[in-house]
Symmetry: C2
C-alpha cells in the first residue's frame, strides 16, 4: 500500500525522500490558492520564479508578472499574491511569472526529483485527492510554512488531504497522524480555527478579508493544477 | 504578557530566539522521562553528553554511564534509556552521564543562551507548569523529535504544557495553537492516540511496553528537573 507523508516545513525537506513521489505543494495563504484562481480565470500557465529580479525580467517576454514579499505586492509588479484580484480581471490566455515568499521556494526544492508536482489548495481539495487516487505512487505533502516555521493553514490542509486519501493510502507517519486528527477535529469550524493562524491575522491587517475567505473555501473548483516542465497548468 | 512557543524539531531551532527564555526540552520516548525516573530513584545529577565515546570516558570518573542509540542500549554501557530500569535498582547519590539519539542534542543546542532549562515529561507535567508560572519569562518548548522529524509524543506533550500555561501565557504561535488543540482533543484517550506514534511502535518491537506506559503516565511525580551548570538535578 502506498503512503502519505507530510513535511511540515521546507526546512525539514532534506529528511524526506521525494524521489518518484507525487509531491503536493501547499501555501494556502496565498500562493497556491492564487495559482488555482489564476488558472480558473483563464491564465494558461504559471512559471514559479525564485527571486523578484528574475520575475521582473519575464515582463519583456510577454508574461504577466506577479510578485509578493511579506504578504504585500512587491514594487513594480502587475499582480501581487491576491487570488481575488485574478477573479476580477480577464487574463485569458496570459502566461504568468510568479514569485512569493514561501510557495515558490517549496516548488523549486522538489521539482527535479518528484514523479509529479500538484498544487494544493482548499479550493480544489477533492479534485487533487481524486487525481492522486488515480496514481500508484507514494505522496509527500510539502507545507510551504512561514519563513521556515510550521504554519497552521498549510498543515491543516495537509491533514485534510490525508483524510481524503485514507484508507486508500497509509497515513502512519507522525506528522500525518497529527494533522489528519487536527483537521478531523476542527473540520466543522475550519474558518474559525484557521482564523487564529498568525498568517490570517497578518493578512487581516492588510485589509484583505476576501482573500482569506477565498483561500478557506473548500472545493470551489474541480480541476487540478500540475507542473509540466517548469510551468504549472491544468492538465489536458 | 509572556508567550509560549513550540519548536517542533531541533532542525527548526535556528528560526527561534531562545535567548533569556525558559526552554523546556522534551523527549518523551524516552530520554526526558528517563531523566525524571533517574532523579526519583536517587540519582543526584545527570550530565547530558553528545557522543558515546565521551560518555564512556566518564565511567572512570565514577559516573554511572547510560548510552542509547536507535532505541537500544549501546554496547558497553551500564544503562540504556529505560526509565523502568532506574526504578528497579538503587542508584542513590550516583551521578549519571547520559547520551541519547535525540534528547541530549536538543539540550546541547540551547544550554548557552537560555535563562533556564527544564526537563519536560508527562510524569512531571504539572510540576513543570507550576515552576514556569513562578517565572516572568517567555517559554520555548523544544521537541527533540526523531532524527530531525516531527514526532507525535513530544509535540502532544508540548501541547499539554501549553494547555496548562494558558491563559496565563499567550499561546498564539501556530505550532502552539495546533499542538494545544491536538492535546485537548485527545487528552481523554492519550495512551490510545500516542500508541499510534511511530516511536511507540518502534519501542513495542523492542518489547518494552512497561517503558511506554511509564512515559505516558501523567503527574506521577511532583518535582521538576533543571539544568544547573552542565548537569540536571532537582533544584533545592
Amino acid at each position: 500500500m502506498k503512503k502519505v507523508e507530510i513535511c511540515l516545513s521546507p526546512e525539514l525537506l532534506h529528511l524526506y525522500d521525494h524521489q518518484d513521489k507525487v509531491v503536493v505543494i501547499v501555501d494556502i495563504f496565498r500562493a497556491t490558492s492564487t495559482m488555482i484562481a489564476a488558472l480558473h480565470s483563464g491564465v494558461s500557465s504559471i512559471l514559479p520564479v525564485m527571486d523578484l529580479d528574475t520575475c521582473r525580467s519575464f515582463q519583456s517576454k510577454g508574461y504577466l508578472i506577479a510578485g509578493e514579499r511579506d504578504g504585500k505586492k512587491a514594487a513594480g509588479f502587475e499582480m501581487g499574491n491576491s487570488p481575488v484580484a485574478y477573479l476580477e480581471e480577464n487574463h485569458k490566455g496570459r502566461k504568468v511569472a510568479m514569485t512569493t515568499t514561501n510557495g515558490t521556494v517549496a516548488i523549486e526544492k522538489t521539482k527535479e526529483a518528484a514523479s509529479s508536482i500538484l498544487i494544493g489548495a482548499f479550493v480544489n481539495l477533492s479534485a487533487t485527492a481524486a487525481e492522486i487516487l488515480t496514481q500508484d505512487k507514494d505522496v509527500l505533502i510539502l507545507c510551504a510554512g512561514w519563513k521556515g516555521k510550521f504554519n497552521l493553514e498549510d498543515s491543516i490542509y495537509a491533514g485534510a488531504l490525508a483524510s481524503k486519501l485514507h484508507p486508500h493510502f497509509l497515513t502512519e507517519c507522525d506528522s500525518t497522524i497529527a494533522m489528519k486528527n487536527l483537521y478531523e477535529g476542527n473540520s466543522h469550524r475550519l474558518q474559525l480555527f484557521l482564523g487564529q493562524a498568525s498568517h490570517a491575522k497578518r493578512l487581516e491587517n492588510h485589509g484583505i478579508d476576501r482573500d482569506i475567505d477565498f483561500c478557506l473555501e473548500i472545493d470551489r473548483y474541480d480541476f487540478v493544477a500540475k507542473m509540466k516542465g517548469n510551468e504549472i497548468s491544468i492538465p489536458e
